[in-house]
């Protein structure tokens, strides 16, 4: 009896099943690849994600300036150091405005608050505001908006200082 199970017919039936399964898997794979998020088309800006923010003297210590084109904030801390932060709230991606009267970023969506260093001052935000890389060349600030750096809390080594002259 055991032998009769392995007939040519049962083999072909299994083959059909396997081939059908393979074909199905292929279709699923093709569908997923088709729907995979694509890289945005290269725009002139995309090639050069570095934004020149301006000379260091333009920014008073203890102030925050918004850069609409690069979608970031440039904060100059009281001690003269710079931080470039994404304007997106780390909670649910709302655009966080800088409220200078309160000296805080206050999110309108779920009332998360961040201090000038991007550190969470009031939940529900789970992380400090994301960072962009800042470079100071010849006393001119440049912010690379190409790459976002996530951080959980503020740390001193995130700040970029201008060279003492």
């Amino acid at each position: 009896m055991e032998k009769e199970k392995h007939t040519r017919r049962s083999f072909l039936n299994k083959l059909w099943l396997v081939l059908g399964g393979l074909a199905f898997a292929e279709i699923i794979a093709v569908t997923f690849t088709y729907f995979k998020p694509r890289k945005p088309e290269i725009s002139p800006e995309a090639g050069n994600s570095v934004i020149v923010a301006g000379p260091v003297e333009n920014f008073e210590p203890g102030t925050v300036s918004a850069f609409v084109r690069g979608k970031f904030y440039l904060a100059r801390l009281e001690d003269g150091g710079f931080l470039a932060m994404s304007r997106r709230c780390t909670h649910l991606s709302c655009t966080v405005p800088w409220v200078s009267s309160e000296n805080k970023f206050i999110c309108p969506c779920h009332s998360s608050e961040f201090d000038i260093r991007g550190e969470v001052a009031n939940p529900p935000a789970p992380r400090a505001l994301d960072l962009y890389h800042v470079e100071i060349q010849n006393n001119v600030l440049k912010v690379d908006t190409g790459k976002l750096k996530k951080r959980s809390v503020f740390a001193a080594d995130q700040v970029t200082y201008p060279k003492k002259t």
Partner: protein, 449 residues
């Protein structure tokens, strides 16, 4: 036979009117019209106090949505630059364009509301028990399809309201471990809402979800037929009858359906004439309006986000709720309560107690968190303080309540599950109400906005 008669006969085959009478006519008519309706139904299920016509109202609203949606498709342009202007043009230039959009909008909102009530009705009359168990599951699928239809439709006008509601709703997915961010970027077609998001949402809204609805709605109806009609209403203590008195669907059911449909259409028309569907300024990714709120049917979840860590508000709690809902028909029930409102006389009392307890506890918890706990807490939200602790507390309340029902009130499984369901649903409704009406600028609690 004249050519007209021959054509008529080809459309309606079967016996033609003869001297012997036109007895075949109604049957032909029935076979056409009653694909979804049986020709006879148990007389008691006609009672308004059983169904409140909610399923039929939902079907009428879906019909309105399909017909107005098809027409809107001709006026709409699915691109960030064109979408908003095409809506403005539709409203201001196209004859009846504004009315059409209003009908679509209010039918969609009405549908969520009606479907939710329908879901409550089915639950509280124990209409999910055998042989209707799987129809409960189909119903939940339809509920999801309706929510997602509303959600995807919300983005299409590409105004501030739409843009930010979609931004925060999709960002919620980021908090699902491992797959969340990928899923978000898949839906958005990028990292933030853009042209591809609009195309995705448009395709889902106008093709995929309607197709799903067209599949699931007839399936839902067909299962009612398979179960020999709706659940038969009875009073507590009344035994189910072995032989039900039947009534002809024509005219008893059909006339009711038609009357109800006319009332629904008239109501929607009146609302659509006097209340315009909202349209804010064109979407501006640089400016979140204050306050930014999710669509109203997501306000319960948004309110939960104010109090729970997102992993709990968006993943743990919703998954538990969905699994619980799917399992409702498959729990072990001691008594057959099908058709009895709230299971029993005791069930009514316990449901009322649960609802009152839920209102008091939810309001108290929100106020406590707002003014004492969150106010005294600095630093980022973390899984323990904002997640595990409040979640554990909520879970403990549910378990305590379960034990109270079981031990304190000696309730049956039917009544206990009903009490827990009532507790959770009421809490969710209260959260939704707080979110919609009691959250002002900066999402601060305030008296009625």
């Amino acid at each position: 036979m004249s050519i007209f008669q021959r054509i008529h006969l080809s459309v309606f085959p079967g016996k033609r009117n003869t001297k012997h009478g036109n007895s075949e006519r109604p049957k032909i008519f029935r076979s056409f019209l009653l694909h979804f309706r049986p020709s006879a139904i148990p007389e008691k299920t006609l009672r308004l106090s059983l169904t409140w016509g909610l399923g039929s109202i939902a079907a009428v609203l879906v019909f309105l949505l399909f017909s107005t949606g098809l027409m809107l498709k001709f006026a709409y342009e699915a691109s960030p630059d064109g979408a908003y202007n095409s809506i403005v043009y539709l409203i201001n230039q196209i004859p009846f364009g504004r009315l059409l959009r209003n009908i679509h909008r209010w039918s969609a909102n009405g549908l969520i509301f009606v479907v939710f009530l329908h879901f409550l009705r089915v639950f509280y009359t124990s209409a999910f028990t055998a042989p209707r168990q799987f129809n409960w599951v189909i119903g939940l699928c339809l509920f999801c399809a309706v929510i997602f239809s509303n959600f995807t439709g919300y983005l299409l006008p590409w105004d501030q309201l739409a843009y930010w509601a979609i931004t925060i709703s999709t960002s919620m997915l980021d908090y699902i471990p491992a797959v969340g961010t990928g899923l978000k970027e898949w839906i958005l077609g990028g990292t933030e809402p853009g042209p591809r998001t609009l195309m995705n949402f448009y395709a889902i809204h106008t093709a995929i979800l309607p197709a799903l609805l067209l599949f699931f709605i007839p399936f839902h109806f067909w299962r009612i037929r398979k179960a020999k009609g709706l659940v038969i209403p009875r009073s507590p203590g009344e035994e189910p009858e072995t032989e039900e008195k039947m009534a002809d669907a024509m005219p008893h059911l059909i006339t009711r359906d038609v009357a109800l449909a006319l009332i629904v259409i008239a109501t929607i028309l009146i609302i659509a004439m006097f209340f315009n569907a909202p349209l804010a300024d064109q979407a501006n990714p640089g400016l979140s309006p204050n306050p930014t709120k999710a669509p109203w049917y997501f306000m319960g979840i948004q309110e939960m986000l104010m109090h729970f860590h997102p992993v709990f508000a968006l993943l743990v709690i919703p998954v538990l709720i969905v699994v619980g809902l799917l399992l409702i028909p498959y729990f072990n029930y001691e008594a057959n309560t099908a058709g009895i409102w709230f299971c029993s006389v005791k069930g009514r009392k316990l449901s009322l107690i649960s609802a009152v307890v839920a209102v008091v506890l939810t309001v108290a918890a929100v106020l406590l968190d707002e003014f004492f706990i969150s106010a005294n807490m600095d630093g980022p939200a973390n899984l323990i303080n904002n997640g595990l602790l409040p979640f554990g507390l909520a879970l403990a309340i549910c378990i305590g309540f379960f034990l109270l029902m079981k031990k304190g009130f000696a309730a049956t499984n039917n009544e206990t599950i009903q009490a827990i369901f009532t507790l959770l649903i009421t809490a969710f409704v209260v959260l939704t109400i707080i979110g919609i009406w009691f959250r002002g600028p900066g999402m601060q609690l305030m008296w009625a906005t």
